[in-house]
């Protein structure tokens, strides 16, 4: 337990952070980064895990308001539905920062800043690479997609970004597209089915590394060589994903960086001090090809 310092007073900053949950390795890396950088930045962190439930997250934010923290930050479970509680925060004069996922609200004064990646852009980058890779191809290219959890923001946005690029060129044909729930097991099962129901697949776009890694097994079991017979593009850039890329099993990985902690703490300090901050800060992200993966692997933390 302990007291909660008044907002902005005597330099001690309390940050209330409402995390989505611990639904993936990506997410836990994100959590860890925030916890560690809060400690090194000397910020008291009130952390809560909403277990993927918006109601829990709203409840957590309410309790932060009750506890009068200096700054509230959270990764919204969904994009909508935050106005009421954020208005309460605004009334209580507590600044809010969004991380990782944006919210869909007309009233942009409800939050100070959004720090995170652009899922649409990730999908688009994957699409761009595909377009470039097959720029010279004349034959039709059969594309399979492993989608994330149906209805989730990353799945929706990555599909959108990818489709925007790929659908522009008639030679790309999305022959199979199904949800793999962002997990290895589902990714594997779905890919197994694809391989049996489709006579030829040239390229696989997996909306995260895990599904891609699951699909690798399925492709190998079908007697094909991943990376050659079927080219694979994924999003995330986890250690295992980059390893697969370095081994030539993946062909391209678009990064979605979970290590937002340091950037967030800088932002929190600025916001707490009342400085103005940009409304939108994109995380530092790149994309990897085989060479880049090899270079990045040794220092990859998650």
């Amino acid at each position: 337990g302990g007291g909660s310092p008044a907002a902005g007073g005597d330099g001690a900053i309390t940050l209330g952070f409402a995390q989505v949950g611990a639904e993936s390795g990506w997410r836990t890396a994100n959590t860890k980064s925030i916890q560690e950088s809060a400690k090194s930045a000397n910020i008291t962190l009130k952390f809560s895990d909403a277990q993927q439930k918006q109601a829990n997250q709203i409840q957590a934010i309410r309790s932060y308001i009750q506890q009068k923290v200096s700054v509230i930050a959270f990764s919204p479970v969904v994009e909508t539905g935050w106005d009421t509680v954020l208005k309460e925060a605004k009334t209580a004069n507590i600044p809010v920062i969004l991380t990782d996922r944006a919210i869909d609200s007309k009233d942009t004064s409800l939050y100070k800043s959004f720090l995170g990646s652009d899922f649409v852009n990730e999908g688009k980058e994957a699409g761009d690479w595909v377009a470039k890779e097959y720029a010279s191809a004349t034959a039709p290219v059969n594309v399979a997609v492993l989608e994330g959890t149906t209805g989730s923001a990353p799945a929706n946005d990555r599909s959108k970004g990818f489709n925007d690029v790929v659908k522009a060129d008639p030679k790309f044909k999305i022959v199979a597209s199904q949800s793999g729930d962002f997990t290895r097991a589902q990714g594997k099962q779905v890919m197994e089915s694809f391989l049996k129901s489709q006579s030829k697949i040239d390229l696989l776009f997996a909306q995260n590394d895990d599904m891609g890694l699951g699909a690798l097994d399925a492709i190998q079991a079908a007697g094909l060589t991943p990376g050659k017979d079927i080219k694979i593009v994924t999003v995330d850039g986890t250690h295992d994903g980059l390893q697969a890329l370095a081994d030539g099993k993946f062909n391209y990985v678009v990064e979605c960086n979970p290590l937002l902690g340091p950037q967030l703490m800088d932002l929190v300090k600025k916001v707490a001090a009342g400085q103005s901050v940009p409304e939108r800060i994109l995380t530092k992200e790149t994309a990897f090809d085989q060479a880049a993966a090899k270079a990045a692997l040794p220092s990859r933390q998650y």
Binding site: G1, T28, T31, D49, K53, V78, T80, T84
Partner: protein, 328 residues
Amino acid sequence: MTALAVRLRSYRPQRRYLPVLAAFALLVGAYGFGAARYPAFGSGQVVLDIFIDHAFLLVVAVGATFVILTGGIDLSVGSVAALSTMASADLLQHKGWPAYAVIPLVLAMGAILGFAMGLVIHYFEIQPFIVTLAGMFLARGLCYTISTESIAIDNGTYTAMAQTPIPLGGTLHVSPSVVIALVVVAIAGYVLHFSRFGRTVYAVGGGERSALLMGLAVARTKVAVYTISGLCSALGGVLMAFYTLSADPLGGVGMELDAIAAVVIGGTILTGGSGYVLGTVLGVLVLGIIQTLITFDGTLSSWWTRIVIGVLLFVFIALQRLIARRSR
């Protein structure tokens, strides 16, 4: 004074009220613990916030109470609630319907879904677990067909319901949804205790065949409880829409388990025939206070959060059992 004290000391509650009383005692204990440990916890608003944050769950759980009292189970509640928010949002935002038309419509939709499930359960003698699981798939599937993306609601009525706190003096306030939920609780309590239908619900839970042989309207009752559950789920969905002013196709995932847990923690027996709506209210509060204690602590990692929820759940349930057993 002393007479009262004596009477209080010699007060032996009826055995069937024990689980409910035990749950209440534990709640008070947990609140005291929180207030002693976290300064901001003691403000009454924390309790009111639990109501605000769980109004929709409460309504859904009340519906589930009816079903569980007959010895059935309804797994579709979470999805039906989500469907009701999605349908509301779609009609309000995309089709431009007014709120007063949308709300009755989605309520009717929930009731009809429940009614259909009740019919299948009773007349085709299929276990409620499967029928309502299929209902859960169906409702969630319909959510996706409406939209796979969440929809924000900016309808005036909904916004008013969401953002007009009802002051209770001082800084204390509740949302209109809490009032609605409490009204639902009161109606349900009245119906279960004072209406013929309510007593038939208990009778069916006590033994369906006996109830049939006693000449009670078993078919009507069974179908009705699922209809009520569907209606309550839909209303819960509407409150959910008030709560977040948005609709999410993935909303309410796992809510059926929360609702069932709340009902059962409140002392209702899953095989039917015994329990109270008041118990369900306490059950919801128990779940809420566990969540609140954890948020106030704010030092737990994700996994410790889950483990601690489990431990607190265990402490509550085990103590409740022991109290109920001891004071027999």
